[in-house]
Symmetry: C2
């Protein structure tokens, strides 16, 4: 069966996003520089450069393999409405998912089909229904809970996250949106599956026990 996984960048102090993160205003509360520092590890990876930045070159080591694997294993994405809203104005026409994307929202809206295989479906019936739909469309591939933090928290609390992959960057944000908040107790139990050491970020992989 498909795995449900999270794969995110995280600041050392536990934030997925710096305070004030708003597309089009990277200078606001300096969020653009902070977010860029957190995600610096991915910007020079060949797969990312080729697929998202349409640039040549870049690193081809184990971190690049990890980035490619994350993209290739994904058969469906689930995200929150805030993340979608931010992306709607920021993603290129060919949105960087290439799978069905289930957006958790109260808004009713027809599916939005983008070139390159990304179709956004707007789900009004909650995270469990979105996961059902994602499972149906993912086939043998896996389901990525893309974000934001509140959506990942909802799926952690449902106990359905099989794999938690964190690129822990050596940056301190001081404020922003924390990944780990609002978790019910007892929370889900994970074990360390693999650690990939790299100067730009520590790639931690946890698997549900």
């Amino acid at each position: 069966m498909s795995k449900v996984f999270v794969n995110i960048g995280l600041s050392l102090d536990g934030y997925m996003a710096p305070e004030g993160m708003t597309m089009g205003r990277p200078e606001y509360k300096n969020w653009g520089a902070k977010w860029g520092a957190m995600m610096a590890w991915i910007l020079n990876q060949r797969y990312f450069r080729e697929k998202l930045l349409k640039l040549d070159g870049g690193e081809t080591g184990p971190v690049n393999d990890l980035v490619r694997h994350t993209a290739e294993r994904s058969g469906a994405n689930i995200m929150g409405k805030r993340m979608f809203d931010q992306g709607e104005s920021a993603w290129p026409e060919e949105a960087p998912f290439h799978t069905p994307v289930y957006v958790l929202t109260h808004q009713k809206r027809e599916p939005w089909v983008r070139p390159g295989g990304t179709t956004f479906h707007f789900v009004n019936d909650g995270p469990e229904r979105a996961l059902e739909l994602a499972r149906e469309s993912a086939g043998s591939r896996d389901i990525r809970i893309s974000g934001g933090a509140d959506v990942i928290q909802q799926y952690l609390n449902l106990g359905v996250v099989d794999e938690l992959e964190i690129a822990l960057a050596p940056v301190l944000f001081g404020s922003g949106r924390r990944l780990f908040e609002n978790l019910h107790e007892p929370g889900p139990a994970f074990r360390i599956d693999r650690v990939l050491d790299d100067p730009a970020a520590t790639h931690l992989r946890y698997v549900r026990q």
Copy 2:
């Protein structure tokens, strides 16, 4: 010159201590089990067993080397009054520091000398004065900011923490005392110095840039 360092266990969700941690009542809010799960990595290390538990046996690999190195490099400790109060009732007569310990407090109290080389000094003049005293007594050895979280935050905000060593355990507390809180912006800048991978915890070492 002596380095100022932090070496702590941390839950995956960023807590140094679970909610409700009170000595003598390990069942309260289940804190004893949670804390034990976070610190499981150290309990079977030979150095820790020998020195603190007065037991034979235990692991002798790189994690054990790390535990020994942390103890041997420490020429002075600095801690908060809450940590001291908890420890005063929980430490054995031979308190596990074997150095001068500077306790940040408003309380006036004569130094408290314990067998085995630990003397607690009660400092009423703030964290910078405590660090001066610690530097004087540490000689060529290093100064450990022992905790709790609020004291570590004060020294991070002073910009004097040279090395931040975190044993990141794969446990979620859900609530408690966060390590990273109340940091001023811009916060201190660290780089990844070393990652030691182990099934029980990921040993992350950051050095100030």
